[in-house]
């Protein structure tokens, strides 16, 4: 076990190193570093001073070292637009993104699981077929277009829900959250549903397949023979057993939600990290772009590490295989 953890940690460190190299070369070698890191509104003397301050007159390996030590001490440059440290800006926006991702995760279980179990229990009924056809659509529909349609139907035509922003927020442990106020909740509903759409389809498919497998197991037959009510069989015996794959897959999908929130946040003007990235790209606010990329890469490496470690705890075959290889 410890061998596996050490190997996996080393691998993550290598990936962090390679990614920092890629981001560094992306900014400093592919593009013009002066062009990328210096505010175009500066005077000539200021530009030369900044070049010296950033060490752009030194050789490349020294520059990389400089960049790496700065990044490790949390200094990723200042935003041109906001004049604040890029790292601070991103960390400020992180709770909004995480809130959106968590609510959409909950939503995909709350909507997907009942539909999937129903379709699994009555595989031939017309309702089930509609559910399954809908789940195919959920995979095929481009998320951003569905977002636009949701805004048009629920915000413009029906006027039921607001289409932009976060609404009223409440401070909980120093972090502002939307889901505790009614107004915030109404702002959260559309973007969270939009982000959840693919995962709802995924949960429907997983729980339908799981249910169809489980209902033929002996323990379900036994529970039925014992005279348990069908409600109890479904909610206790079936549901419990199909939750394992559902929870595993959703855990894996969490990273994808963070990545896809870039799209949803842009459509619904949700003030999270993803919208900050798109705004920064449009405003050529390069320090923020670099900082976002580094943070999101780090975030993913940590998620992947956690997923692998959890797997190795749950399934001994994973770590045995890896040690042998």
């Amino acid at each position: 076990m410890s061998v596996f953890i050490i190997r996996r940690l080393l691998q993550s460190l290598v990936v962090v190193f390679v990614m920092s190299l890629l981001v560094f070369f992306g900014v400093n070698v592919v593009g013009d570093p002066v062009d990328m890191l210096i505010n175009p509104e500066m005077s000539q003397a200021d530009i030369e001073a900044t070049i010296r301050a950033l060490g752009l007159d030194r050789p490349v390996h020294e520059q990389y070292w400089h960049f790496l030590t700065n990044a490790l001490s949390g200094d990723l440059g200042k935003s041109f637009i906001f004049g604040e440290p890029a790292l601070k800006l991103i960390l400020q926006r992180m709770p909004a993104t995480l809130e959106l991702a968590f609510v959409s995760l909950l939503m995909s279980v709350a909507i997907g699981l009942p539909l999937g179990v129903y379709a699994g229990l009555n595989p031939e009924s017309r309702v089930s077929r509609t559910i399954m056809a809908g789940s195919i659509l959920g995979f095929s529909l481009p998320t951003f277009w569905v977002g636009l349609m949701l805004i048009m139907i629920f915000a413009v035509v029906l006027g039921w829900l607001p289409s932009t922003g976060r609404g009223d927020t409440v401070q909980v442990l120093g972090i502002s959250v939307s889901f505790l106020t009614l107004n915030g909740l109404s702002h959260l509903l559309l973007p969270a549903f939009n982000l959840a759409l693919t995962n709802i389809s995924l949960v429907i498919r997983l729980s339908r397949a799981g249910t169809r497998e489980v209902v033929h197991q002996d323990y379900v037959k036994f529970a039925r023979a014992k005279g348990l009510s069908s409600n109890r069989i479904v909610f206790v015996h079936v549901m419990k057993n199909i939750m394992i794959p559902v929870v595993t897959v959703l855990g894996l999908e969490f990273g994808g939600l963070i990545a896809f929130s870039v799209v949803t946040e842009t459509i619904f003007a949700w003030p999270g990290m993803g919208k900050l990235l798109i705004d920064s790209v449009q405003n050529l606010d390069r320090p923020v772009i670099v900082a976002y990329l580094l943070i999101i890469v780090l975030f993913f490496i940590v998620i992947n590490l956690l997923v692998d470690l959890t797997y190795s705890l749950l399934d001994p075959r994973v770590r045995l295989q890896d040690v042998k290889a």
Binding site: Q11, V15, V23, G26, V27, V30, G31, L137, F139, S140, L141, P142, T143, F144, W145, L148, M149, I151, M152, V156, V157, G255, G256, A259, F260, V262, V263, T266, L277, I278, V281, Q282, I289, L293, I296, V297, F300, N304, A325
Partner: protein
Amino acid sequence: MTSVTDPTAAQPQKVPDPALLDAGAEERAAQQTPFRRFCRDFFASPVASVAFVVLCCILFIAVFAPWVSPTDPYDLAVVDVMDNRLPPGSTSFDGSVTYWLGTDGAGRDVLSAIFYGLRTSLFVGVASGLIALLIGSSVGLVSAYYGGRVDSLIMRIVDIQLSFPAILVALILLAALGQGVEKIIVALVVVQWAYYARTVRGTALVERRKEYVEAATCLALPSRRILFRHLLPNCLPPLIVVGTVQTASAIALEATLSFLGLGLPITEPSLGLLIANGFQYMMSLQYWISVFPGIALLITIVSINLVGDQLRDVLNPRLQQ
């Protein structure tokens, strides 16, 4: 351009195995070419047949967009700003053209813009798919054929790349590279190659242990010939299936990135860009500028996916008798 979805591409390696057929079927098989059998299997599903026909129409429109479009939406001499944001079915200011799907904010015919947009979207999707297929399958073949350290290194890279979502990798690349047709193709190739590499490696590992590869090795044929003339043709069926699904997701990804303003420049309007342009008018209920390009995108993606699903069923040897 059509080769990715062309079912005939699957045909060369599907020689019917006489041992699997009973006496009666053998007679029938004598009159059947593998291609005919493939067609019969493919068109057995009505849904897939419809999807195939729809896809052919879309490809036709995309290739011949300048000839089938009612107007040229990017010819400034024809586009009249007086015609801007007309609802579907209205006639132009001078009464010469009917805009069946309405016009956009600059007075362009939405139907014609969709035809031109399909052309751009499909070109980007298919071109990136083909390049990724070439690179990915070469890497996968090399990985499977040589094994050992080469294999574990390549597969480690593939694993790491696939652990990041496609949209994130594309976002990172485009944020660094900037806008442009060739840049988005590069980004889509980087996103896709790993899927092809993994698919080919998996199939090639099975094929490599078969007698015909052993025979070729005994004949002292060069590795390159064994790789590309013996192994690759036998890895094609799963590759074609992955290719169709990947092309559909590449088109969707390109549309998403263009919508975000990170993909194609405004001079190369794909469907995603058309949808983005219509977004601002949606609040005033001028729905057609965004909705119709979206439906075109949806039909394209769904039909490619349905054809891909059917190809998977038909090309899967386990599902055949």
